[in-house]
Amino acid sequence: MKNNQINPLTLCLLLVLLPLWGKATQLVECDFTQSNKERAAFYKNMLWNTPQPEFSDTLVPPQWRNESQVMLCSNSEVLYAYYMAKMTFVLVEHSRVKLQDLNAVSRYSEFSFRDNYKSRGWFNKVKATFHVGFKIVKPDGTEHEVDINEAVETNIQQGRKEETMNKIAIPGLEMGDIVDFYYIAEIKFPVSQYYVQDPEFFPLVDEFPIKKQYLTLHIGPSVYLNARSVNGAPKLKLSHENMYFSSYQLVDSMRNKLTDNVHFRMATELPHLKYHGYYVNTTLRPKKPGNVELFMLGDRVKYKDHLHTDDLKELTVFLSKDKSSYWGGTTDVYASYIKATNRYLKSKFDKTQFNQTELVKEAYYFLREYNFRTQLLRIASNGKISPSIYAPPLELFSANHVLATVYKEWGVPFNFVYTVPNSMSKLDDWLFLNELVPLLEVMPDKDTLLIADIGKESFINYLPHDYSGNKAYRINVFDKEGKFLRKGGTMEPIVLKKNTPDDFKSQVNIHMRVTDFSSPVQLNFEYQVKGGEKVLWDTLMVSAYDSYREQRSDYSRYIVSPAIDHSKWAYTMSGLNEYQVQFEEQRRQSVSDFMRLKLGNQSFTLDSIYVNNIGRWEPKPDLEFGYSATATQVCTPIGERYLLDVGSMLGNKFIPTQLEDSVTFDFQTGGPYEVSQTLRISLPAGYQVKDVESLQKHFENECGILHISASYSQGELMVQTRKAAKHRFYPRQKWPAYTAFLNAGVQMAQMQVIVEPQ
């Protein structure tokens, strides 16, 4: 472990005088006391004039001769250094790309790069300096450097902020040329106690083949590295080390391009390195509650490539004890949530005698609403709301701990559960806090409910698909008898429940009235959505909320009158109510747009729509909504008879039929879910349907079930369908089975029936 704290001035001097580590010039030799111009010359010399065999390789492997472009060599370096109370980042990207067709020529004919930047203000000043270089290597080996002075500037001003972008056109570029370019960003900013870089993902695969690639991370004193190679990516190896810098390098070669850019999840499919660097002042002692942040958990070593499962337990203990932690739900900033929830529960329940399951749900729903409304107020005030009513938004950890605190107070036992979502990574590979999802397992009246993610689409006992069936760790806070385990209990690996189609059900009733064949058809759709499926519909319908969040400035309109209250700002609810009305309208619009998309037919006109029980804060489990519409082109005349388009009512016309024959990666689908539909078609008097049997269908395979039954009686045709998608994730070998299931659905959407005079 290297925690050597050295005099910053000495470090500067040493950086200048560092002995060479080899013949080649190294990034760590850069002297930051030099002028920008001198450093630009240093970088140019380092990247273009220092012998690097891989960067002089111009041969394209035969298998890539027909590719649009080939990355012959790419070198990425990140230098982390701390001195003079400043964190210094240097990011180097150096690439040589062979252009093999006109598309590639066009792609590389222009570059944009940022101009040097200094933030305003005396404190927290960020200084960013950029250096670029472009040259073209002709097939005969001649090199033409592009004059950076030819770049044109574009100034972007937004209020006080000003940014200059430079654009440069690459002259003389032709097919067969190699573009050799580099981009270097030096970023310096003051740091006092610690700094943590956001996690970076470095995929080794791109949309073009890569012959050779390097990633080198140079870690200076008091800086630490967490990094992990995932999905078969080569491991980082210590390439150089002296008393100040440790350099870790990843070398990779001959990567084919990403052939399937649709059916893949980067974190679980592509080979990549995830990493971040962080600086911690050595005076900060690790594991001391109140002083350090969560990234400090576990041993502090120069390079760490995995986290111990024990860290999870430590995390929970930490959260429960650390009063100043942002994540800690028991801290003062979240006190208003706890107080408000308890006040609400007291108004609903008798503390001596109550149904624990009901209490658990009520507390959850109340907290969701309270969180939403508090944040709404905060947004409405452009962040200027009085601190007395302000609380940070509840997210993941904090929501769990607020609920846990409340449940503990009401004597409902619970345990903490941690997992990593499918889309992020695997539990075995977790390295960063932001990959981790905390769940709360509550055991009211010896029942077991799992609560996930209060802020977004989740719902009691219906896991988001992203968590379904995942590996997890349970931290036992209470034992099975509901007895509180004072020392945090034990930790055990578990597997979360796997969602089934039963959990995500919806029922659709459709009534189609054909009054006469020359007029548009009248349609009524009624949707009843239950259980987990409601979660998905909720998400759809409140998606407007997120889009509103982005237009934060618009919320200022809801500030009704300042300085009425004793506090600096006061807000009447009238402004909020106006927002609420608009929000409802927006939700209805979302439903309407979705329906149009689903039906995919311009001959449908939406006449009216109703929605009951939607919304994230209403403690009502089922959603009902529906709409009425008129449609043309549903009946095609054939002499005296009509061909009735039954399928367009039942299926999605936009299900892709043009699917790939095979996929490269394991794939993710929209399942599991189950949709049952009942379609009643009232026909005009004097007409009948005979070939009802042609509508009966049954399809079943390992991916899904589609069952269609039909009957005709007294002028009414009734078609009942049940479509169930069984799973969410499939191995790539199952692709043909999955497309067969999808195509069965498409055939349902194409069902027709003949209506003829009696």
Partner: protein
């Protein structure tokens, strides 16, 4: 002297001796005031209430109550050439509580835009980034403010000063929100001769008056208008200038203090002289280009092939990168520089082509043209007319127009956007005005031939698709930009992303010369066949047509259809064994405001039924008044597309 007299004197001082105000005596003033007092309540009573405005403009949270634009065009005392200054006063009126009002103004480096002195608002400004243009000197200045109460007003006052009066070319009347009343006052020094030409003002309540100040020092032109419609962002809209009301400004000439008259844009000759002057500043070193040219035309058999090769070389080797900055918008870069850089803007590539052709001893000219469909021609000479440059090869005295920025057009097919447009061709000290030929729509033909047979619930067979002219160029551009081996791309480009048409292989994409693109594939029509007892109902229209889109009849702008089309689907369906044709839909032609669809069903022999659907579109613009008819046409056409022919089993 009474107070009123004092005031009128001050006003007179302010406006100078030319001011011939109404305040010649206090009595008249007093009467005027009484009259004003009587009239103001009456005027106010006619002003619509906020409630009325909300109902009239339900989609707007605010309107511009009053816009006052004053344009001063006078002689600069030091340079003795005209100068232009615009003062804009906009009064924003909120229709709802807590409304953010504002506007963004655009201008180029040829003018500066500042807020008026003492004005208390923040103006945000910057460069406009347009991805289509490598560098543009277009800049914006933006103002916004939150009004807390409905009915509250915000005043914006800006001044725009032009560096060169010739770049003041138009006065646009509309803003992004409705304008209740607007006045444009153009005060012109009488030594400057200026014409305003109004466009798209037919539906506007507009009053145009011309007056003169005392001693006729200035001429005043006042354009007073009410209820100016807002600029809307409509899909597939034609250019703003072809839809929205505006005035085109033409400075004809001015007279300096010595009495010498200086022509500006009084005639097309003057405009041509202006253009020619800047073009002449480009110097091409042909000696340096000769070796390159020789490699391009080596082994060429004749002149036409020579031209084709040069055209193709410039299209393929020179990337189009637009650079618009002050006079760089008028002066082409030298041919040598364009070759060296391998990129250039429209002027650069036109000049390079002209240089190449001239070096080959051919008669080649530069041409100025409007490529955005604006409603102007050279009868009103201003620099606002043309915004694009191409090259013309004078083949036996007839121009063949070459636009190298259209990278996939062949010699015979000028880009659709240029066809039929007026063009100014250089001709030494003189010029020629003519039109780019408007080719027959059949030159843009897309022909799909299907040979199909019934197979269970679907039709299976083969397709050959062939594209010509601008349809081919568009298709080729699309395929080159993307990866032509991707199924999705082929589906999107050639089969209109039809859900009913399924192909089985896509390896047969061929380019025949530079004028035809052909594609062949095995295909299926899924769900096109329905069996019922002894009968079989078959739909023959192979795919959904993206052209059949309905438009909102309440839209403001005309629809830009991009391409005149001639699309033929010909399906030969083998009559299934054991079946005969029982009935076929009627052959019919469904007319549209811009063409028609002709449906023809014929039984060609004992074994085959032929379906032919010919969609023709003769115009690139669908006028807004034609939209109801167009929508009815789309409904009818969809009905026809859905029609089925009926086969029945042959009874033994």
């Amino acid at each position: 002297m009474t107070i009123l007299e004092l005031k009128s004197t001050k006003i007179r001082d302010l406006y100078g001796p030319d001011y011939k105000g109404a305040f010649s005596c206090s009595l008249r003033c007093l009467l005027g005031c009484i009259l004003l007092c009587l009239c103001v309540p009456m005027l106010m009573a006619t002003e619509p209430s906020i409630e009325t405005l909300r109902k009239t403009y339900p989609d707007n949270t605010y309107v511009i109550k009053k816009a006052d634009v004053k344009v001063f065009i006078d002689m600069d005392g030091s340079t003795h050439i005209p100068r232009v200054r615009r003062i804009m006063q906009l009064e924003f009126l909120s229709l709802k509580n807590n409304t953010r009002v504002g506007n963004t103004f655009y201008h180029t480096n040829n003018s500066t835009l500042k807020k008026a002195k003492g004005a208390k608002f923040t103006l945000t400004s910057g460069d406009v980034n347009d991805d289509m243009i490598f560098h543009s000197d277009l800049q914006f200045a933006s103002f916004s403010k939150v009004l807390k109460q409905a009915g509250e007003l915000a005043l914006l006052e800006l001044t725009e000063e032009f560096k060169d009066f010739r770049f003041y070319t138009a006065e646009t009347f509309a803003y992004p929100v409705p304008t209740l009343s607007k006045t444009v006052t153009i005060k012109v020094d009488s030594s400057i001769h200026l014409n305003t030409h109004l466009f798209n003002t037919e539906a506007l309540e507009l009053k145009q008056t011309h007056t003169k100040t005392a001693h006729e020092t200035y001429r005043l032109e006042v354009l007073a208008m009410k209820n100016v419609p807002p600029l809307t962002k409509e899909e597939a809209a034609t250019s703003i200038r072809s839809n929205y009301p505006h005035a085109l400004i033409q400075v004809q000439h001015y007279t300096d203090r010595n009495g010498v008259q200086h022509p500006v844009f009084n005639t097309t000759d003057a405009l041509y002289a202006f253009n020619k002057k800047y073009v002449a500043q480009t110097h091409n070193d042909t000696a340096l280009l000769r070796p390159l040219l020789q490699t391009i035309v080596a082994d060429s058999r004749d002149t036409v092939e020579n031209v084709k090769r040069m055209y193709k070389w410039v299209q393929e080797k020179i990337r189009y990168i637009a650079f618009e900055y002050e006079m760089a918008g008028f002066i082409p870069e030298s041919a040598n520089a364009v070759v060296a850089k391998t990129y250039g803007d429209c002027k650069g590539v036109a000049n390079l082509l002209k240089t190449f052709l001239t070096m080959q001893g051919l008669d080649a000219r530069l041409c100025w043209i409007n490529a955005t469909g604006d409603p102007y021609d050279y009868s009103i000479p201003t620099i606002a007319i043309d915004n694009h440059m191409i090259c013309a090869w004078m083949r036996n005295g007839t121009p063949v127009f070459l636009d190298a920025t259209a990278s996939n057009n062949s010699l015979e097919f000028p880009p659709e956007k240029l066809q039929g447009r007026q063009v100014l061709i250089e001709n030494g000290e003189s010029y020629v005005i003519t039109h780019v030929p408007l080719l027959q729509i059949i030159s843009n033909k897309a022909q799909y031939n299907f040979k199909m047979a019934v197979q269970s619930q679907r039709l299976s067979g083969n397709m050959e698709a062939t594209f010509y002219g601008n349809r081919r160029a568009a298709m080729e551009s699309f395929l080159k930009q993307t990866n032509a081996t991707e199924k999705d791309v082929i589906n999107h480009a050639i089969m209109n992303r039809s859900v009913e048409l399924k192909w089985e292989n896509q390896d047969n994409l061929t380019f025949e010369g530079d004028s035809v693109l052909a594609y062949a594939s095995a295909v299926q029509f899924t769900g096109h066949c329905h069996r019922y007892g002894d009968e079989m109902f078959v739909k023959l229209c192979p795919m959904q047509n993206l052209e059949l889109v309905q438009y909102d009849s309440a839209r403001y702008c005309d629809v830009d259809l991009q391409l005149r089309d001639y699309i033929v689907y010909e399906v030969d369906l083998k009559i299934p064994d054991g079946y005969r044709v029982k009935s076929i839909p009627d052959s019919i032609t469904v007319p549209s405001p811009v063409g028609s669809i002709a449906y023809a069903y014929t039984v060609t022999d004992e074994n085959t039924v032929r379906y032919r659907r010919t969609y023709s579109c003769n115009k690139t613009v669908l006028k807004k008044e034609e939209i109801p008819d167009w929508n009815a046409f789309v409904q009818s056409a969809k009905g026809e597309d859905n029609k089925r022919l009926v086969f029945t089993k042959i009874k033994p």
